[in-house]
């Protein structure tokens, strides 16, 4: 870790303009060369990441953090069993940021905290691994990049398949021209799902810091449960929040950054639980002469997610893969699977009317082991300061596609034209007003990071 002159960190107001940052002067507070880690967000995802982190011997998990103290036990147990010590539990993440000896923050909170926590962590001199979807608006993403660059912080977004070796071979295959001219990418999240009826209002439970829980989002009367996944002020939308993986991978595979336009279709067609975000969402992105189609729905029980593929000698059943990516060229079609699905190319002969597989790569790494690979990349980058596989700047282009699709949907499924350089909509003030999320004081993404 490069030595940087230490400065003091201004506590107090969130997003203080030109806040002085505490830079690290050494490798970390833990013994030897271990990188010290604070994990923020101890729900299901946070615990999955902890299970991966505790496989490593080159890190020290110094803090576990969640605004709800009731989740501490399950997370603590993972670290105690994996690393044989008990980390300190803190309810307020700022206590971690105030620790000058803490090197990194792993942010696995709900979406609404991703941007601000990352920015504050960068200001505090921490490198960050932030789960996807990493921003709630285009502007959030811009500010996250700005903070990362200003404070020279490594910021890795949790798009784990980027670290899977089979992505590289797929990219090589396409770049070699063997697929022909790529004209179309199709990404899917078409799977089973269910309604999410909001619970009745209740008093805020003991142990939950509700102000911290809400963060930048509105502080509505407390209700338990996951209702918030269906409201724009709290979430990116249950569909795009997960489609981001496929959108990102497809964008890399077709080699594009920003679209010229977006047009959505869909809405709330299936569930009567009062949700805002769609349960059916289709979007078309135009990248010059290449098009990406995004298809998302929660009413397809005949499709199945690629989670664990127990037989490593087989590809997913592409026809019924809920989360597949298809890249169509003039010579062949590539099926690509996230999180260990591998890839496979089919070609066909229109004279004999036959099609057959011609190339592919199975993945040795599945699901959990891909998380391990992604963390390996992150921690290596923390040491050598090179650009991580899912650097926040590049990930931003993929996240923008989800934001654009959502905004088109929110504006009545309008076709919107996009200026990729200026990152704004062309001739559409209503859309441009939505480029920035709303924030609740004091949890506001700062103008000047």
């Amino acid at each position: 870790m490069s030595k940087i002159k230490r400065r003091s960190f201004l506590k107090g107001s969130v997003g203080a303009a030109a806040g002085l940052a505490a830079f690290k002067t050494g490798m970390g507070s833990a013994a030897n060369d271990k990188i010290s880690v604070g994990v923020m967000g101890l729900g299901g995802r946070g615990r999955s990441l902890l299970a991966s982190l505790t496989k490593r011997s080159d890190i020290h998990i110094k803090y576990l953090c969640d605004c709800d103290t009731r989740v501490s036990g399950a997370a603590t147990e993972i670290v105690m069993e994996g690393h044989n010590y008990k980390p300190e539990f803190v309810q307020d993440f700022r206590k971690m940021l105030d620790d000058p000896d803490l090197d990194t923050i792993i942010c696995a909170t709900s979406d609404r905290w991703h941007a601000l926590a990352t920015i504050m962590a960068c200001q505090a001199g921490k490198d960050v691994y932030v789960e996807k979807p990493h921003s709630m608006s285009v502007w959030d993403g811009q500010q996250m990049i700005a903070a990362s660059r200003k404070y020279k912080r490594i910021v890795q977004v949790g798009m784990q398949t980027r670290s899977a070796p089979y992505l590289q071979s797929a990219l090589e295959y396409i770049r070699s021209g063997k697929l022909g001219d790529v004209k179309l990418a199709r990404v899917y999240l078409m799977q089973a799902g269910g309604p999410n009826y909001p619970a009745p209002e209740e008093p805020v439970p003991q142990g939950l810091d509700y102000d911290l829980w809400c963060g930048p989002s509105p502080m509505l009367p407390y209700r338990p449960g996951r209702w918030f996944q269906n409201y724009w002020d709290f979430y990116n939308g249950a569909l795009t929040g997960d489609l981001i993986h496929q959108v990102d991978l497809a964008r890399l595979l077709i080699g594009k950054k920003a679209p010229d336009s977006v047009c959505s279709a869909g809405g709330v067609y299936r569930f009567d639980d009062g949700r805002e975000t769609p349960d059916t969402q289709f979007a078309t992105f135009e990248f010059g002469d290449v098009t990406m189609l995004m298809e998302g729905a929660f009413w397809c029980p005949y499709n199945h997610r690629i989670v664990l593929l127990p037989d490593k000698s087989k590809f997913p059943d592409w026809q019924f893969s809920a989360t597949k990516i298809e890249i169509l060229g003039t010579e062949g079609i590539m099926y690509f699977g996230r999180h260990g699905g591998g890839w496979e190319v089919y070609e066909g002969d229109d004279r004999t009317r036959t099609s057959h597989p011609v190339a592919g790569e199975l993945s040795e790494y599945k699901w959990g082991s891909i998380i391990d690979l992604h963390f390996e990349d992150f921690f290596q980058r923390v040491r050598d300061r090179k650009t991580p596989m899912a650097d926040v700047a590049d990930s931003h282009y993929s996240m923008n596609l989800c934001h654009l699709a959502n905004l088109s949907n929110r504006l009545g499924n309008q076709k919107l034209k996009w200026d990729g350089e200026g990152e704004c909509f062309i001739d559409n003030d209503d859309a441009n007003k939505l480029l920035r999320a709303k924030y609740r004081e004091p949890w506001v993404v700062p103008e000047n990071v």
């Binding site: 299901g44 009731r70 036990g73 799977q191 619970a199 142990g207 338990p224 996944q229 249950a238």
Partner: protein, 372 residues
């Protein structure tokens, strides 16, 4: 012509658990056969059940397992007559009559061993209760919220399943399944496997709750006993009590606090320097797990012990989300553990855990439901 019993029944030495084990004491086991006029031979099993405090509200669950040539088998209480199998409401000499042994169970002349085990249960009468939490501790919203619920009568184990009980089960299984190496941890479990494949409990660990058990392990053990896991609703009713503690049929005993936060009421587990359950930290007297019944003064309204804290308890229920609704999805655990903050041990908090996950904070207890 009377059919003579052709099975040679051997009186077992009687399965007498070690003194410190958690099964209720059973002794003086006698097994013999008698012929009948028309029903074929019957086997009579008698034993002494020496347990204090048994009653209609706090019976013992007695299950009988028998072995002929091959493996052990649970005897279905519905095929047994007498006062000594299933729910047993008093101590003393008990008798079980096992009909038709040679018709469906052991047709060839074999030696049959019998083992009797009993564990304390608590009756939860039929009736309504305040289902304060939603399914999945508020996370499963695939159905409309139900603020109250009505359950039929059921019986729940008074205590969490113990290390001694689980060791006994593993030794009878004998096939190596159900054991995890981390169970040997003497501070967090204390169940070790010997080189010869048998299992032993480290001294002093007998009455601690078994830990490092997956959901599947819990299911398998309870099947072995003739019990099952509680549903979330059953668990919560046992924790908080029904609207009437004597049940809706009589309604003579209203629950003074049907929406209590904890089994004992609304006081925090560590309020006023009184420690009411085993939660995080050492102030409650335990750095890790505590023997079952260590907080007996703070049991549920029915007398169910350690529902708050100690070990998280697996329930039968799955947790449904838009992404996890399959057989490999999450299950729900309730009650908090020795690693949870006090408020994490309340009536409505719960965690969602993958069914294969076993850990130092995971345990369970069983339920018997006459109507199912």
């Amino acid at each position: 012509m009377l059919r003579l019993l052709t099975i040679c029944l051997v009186l077992t030495a009687g399965f007498v658990p070690p003194l410190s084990a958690s099964w209720l004491p059973v002794s003086n086991l006698k097994v013999w056969s008698e012929s009948t006029e028309l029903g074929g031979p019957k086997v009579i099993i008698e034993y002494d059940l020496e347990a204090e405090g048994l009653s209609e509200s706090t019976p013992a669950w007695v299950f009988i397992r028998a072995r002929g040539v091959n493996s052990w088998r649970l005897l279905d209480p519905q095929r047994l007559e007498g006062d000594g199998a299933g729910l047993v409401e008093s101590s003393g000499r008990k008798q079980v009559i096992w009909w038709g042994v040679d018709q469906t169970d052991y047709p060839d002349p074999v030696s049959v061993e019998v083992r009797i085990r009993a564990l304390p249960m608590v009756r939860v009468p039929a009736g309504s209760f305040s289902l304060k939490s939603l399914p999945g501790a508020g996370r499963d919203q695939s159905g409309r919220p139900a603020p109250s619920s009505v359950l039929p009568e059921f019986y729940i184990a008074r205590d969490e399943t113990t290390v001694a009980m689980y060791a006994d089960y593993l030794n009878e299984r004998g096939d190596g399944l159900g054991y995890h190496d981390r169970m040997a941890n003497e501070e967090r479990c204390g169940l070790v496997r010997s080189e010869d494949g048998t299992y032993a409990v480290l001294p002093g660990r007998e009455n601690y709750p078994i830990s490092y058990v997956s959901w599947y392990d819990a299911i398998a053990f309870l099947n072995w006993c003739g019990l099952r896991l509680p549903t979330e609703a059953e668990w919560e009713k046992a924790y908080r009590g029904g609207h009437y503690l004597d049940g809706d049929d009589s309604k003579a005993q209203p629950n003074p606090n049907p929406e209590r936060r904890y089994p004992w009421g609304d006081e925090a587990p560590n309020e006023g320097d009184v420690y009411r359950c085993n939660h995080d930290g050492t102030e409650d007297g335990f750095a890790d797990l505590a023997p079952v019944g260590s907080f007996a003064d703070f049991s549920s309204p029915y007398g169910v012990r350690d529902m708050a804290g100690n070990v998280n308890e697996w329930t039968l229920d799955w947790y449904t989300t838009p992404f996890h609704a399959g057989l490999d999805g999450y299950r729900v655990v309730r009650g908090g553990s020795w690693l949870d903050v006090p408020e994490g041990c309340d009536a409505v908090s719960g965690a969602t855990v993958l069914p294969m996950k076993e850990g130092a904070t995971m345990g369970f207890r069983g339920v018997y439901a006459p109507q199912r």
